[in-house]
Symmetry: none
DNA sequence: AATGAATGAGATTTCATTCAT
DNA sequence: TATGAATGAAATCTCATTCAT
């Protein structure tokens, strides 16, 4: 007996996939399980997504877009001083992770795997951070010896790795403390030139 | 047709597993492929390991042990000043990753390791770093407001994330530059108190 | 290449399993063979039964149910005299075995049924026979020294063992003769009190 | 390192096989397990037996021989009256089963299976019983209508089936009661002619 | 468009058997 | 003669995918 509810198959699949991917990892989840949890026929799954990696990809793209949007908005609202900008960006990331832990885990956690057909989606752009550092370096505000590309890249690892760990920590620190710590380890702060 | 060569099945399996896991990830590798590459019968694989995750686990345990050993040795040899200690630890990690890129990737990369049966092995102990920070903090050498546990944990993410990225970078930075950058972002350096 | 015929996978599997189990015994049969004989994909087998022992179990449950039903019906139709009741029960069992030799063999023969996962299904209830004997004993119609539970149990062995042997006998006796013999050995007849 | 003890490999294998076959059934036991439990190399197993069914066969032959021997001896010792003879035979069987429960189970239980290579060993000869019945029938001591072959065969099922059940009964009856019950159901007793 | 029974390629795992030592 | 690591055929079971309804 086909055709039951023609409504909201896609959102249901997205939610089911998010939940299962975050709990089990993409390789331990199968398309039947996603469809079952979405209360949708398997056929319907394949009508909407080529395979489970296509669904994963959509989750990741949506998440990265959302993450980028909130960061841009936060930075725009913030004081233009470099430290304030950094704090705003960090705060927005921490808040996003706290609000969407599953999406954050699925997108930035161990799901690069994605396999053969679909290439990984994550390429956490460290360009903007590097640019800011370069400008500050030119202005003599941070150590001229610093390799800004490397530092930007390293900071990205700090933020993502720390947030992923934080989301799974059974006894998690306060968000504000997390922001403080990340800010101290951000190159803008950690590598600033201190005058005598 | 049994017993063909009396050689060393276990090292061969370990090498084959390392190579395949690092190339494809644990879920994309199967026991047949490991046995085939090790030039060993599939039965031999199961005579040595309960399943592919047991092999992965052995690789990870060996790698973590090796990594810890070289770090301990390096730190022991180094000047006792905190920055020298940190530099020695970082140098040893960078060198280890450079020498054993596959093992480093397989052990510290995105291998959640076998889901149900075997629990993940990685628990990069951040305890030692936290202790050092605590002592320096007591001595007034680093910022009294710093949450040392959080900072130690965050630095671990920095180092691991950066090295994993470095190993896959098509145009990798010099190892020495990597050490410099990581040192600057290490809490011992980044959060030190600067006197007027 | 999925869904070829919309027919009746389950009955086909049941028939194939019955035939193969009865011919080879559960351990000499494998799921592929059952599926092949049922002209069904192996996946279809596992969509319907957890494993071959689950199929065996279903055959056994159906058979025992059928056997009990015909016995109850026969006894109900028969004269209420104990010997008539016994004869009716025996006749129904002999007729059932003759009509469904494979099912009888598979269910009551040496099928310990699947070792670990599924427990054997046979528990040929000897309760009813024991009850009848107890009543007759109370009425002084059968030997007061008889252990009725033991006798009921022993008779069950007689009937099942004899029928299993009969089904495989290359030169089988007449059914009527079988009924006569079993009746003579039934405790209701064999252990009745004979007055002087 | 080969060659450890050249002693008693065969008895050890026999004991190990008996124990495992009786616990698990021949199909759930494998040659490696037998060798392991016998504390003997697998190679040694194959030096003594072609496969596990050959070992099973030897156990069964030894058991049947032993069973026949004790029955013959008991019958020879007993009073020549038919009932005494029957009682002696039954008593010897009950005692044998009680003393060698594993051997009895393995030989007379659900192990006909034996499979392809080796044919089943059990063919519980009902000839002697039939002969005795025939003589008694000729002497007018038992019902002239009785089909003695069928009755002998049915009694064999009674005895074996009851003893197998008894060995596994969590709350087993007394041996003497078992003998009494079996005797009452033995054709010699159950089908004897009762004079007015 | 939605469904889910059916499919079979392929992964996992077992175990009887051999043979170099 | 005894050993047991090594072997691979064969069994079990999973799951992405199709397509008749």
């Amino acid at each position: 007996m086909p055709r039951r509810k023609l409504e909201d198959a896609k959102p249901r699949l997205l939610a089911a996939g998010l939940s299962l991917f975050s709990k089990l990892g993409s390789e331990r989840v199968n398309s039947n399980a996603i469809a079952r949890r979405a209360k949708v026929g398997i056929g319907t799954f394949y009508a909407h997504y080529e395979d489970k990696y296509a669904l994963l990809q959509e989750i990741q793209i949506r998440t990265l877009t959302g993450l980028r949007d909130v960061r841009i908005a936060a930075v725009r609202r913030a004081d233009p001083a470099p430290q304030s900008q950094a704090r705003a960006a960090i705060t927005s990331a921490v808040r996003f992770a706290a609000r969407h832990p599953q999406a954050y885990r699925v997108t930035l956690g161990r799901e690069r795997a994605g396999a053969t057909k679909h290439r990984p989606v994550v390429s956490e752009s460290t360009r903007p951070t590097a640019e800011v550092l370069r400008e500050l370096q030119a202005a003599g505000r941070i150590d001229p010896e610093l390799n800004v590309d490397l530092a930007a890249r390293a900071y990205a690892a700090t933020e993502v790795g720390t947030l992923l760990w934080w989301l799974d920590d059974p006894d998690p620190a306060e968000a504000s403390e997390l922001v403080d710590t990340l800010l101290r380890l951000h190159p803008v702060v950690a590598c600033r030139v201190t005058r005598a």
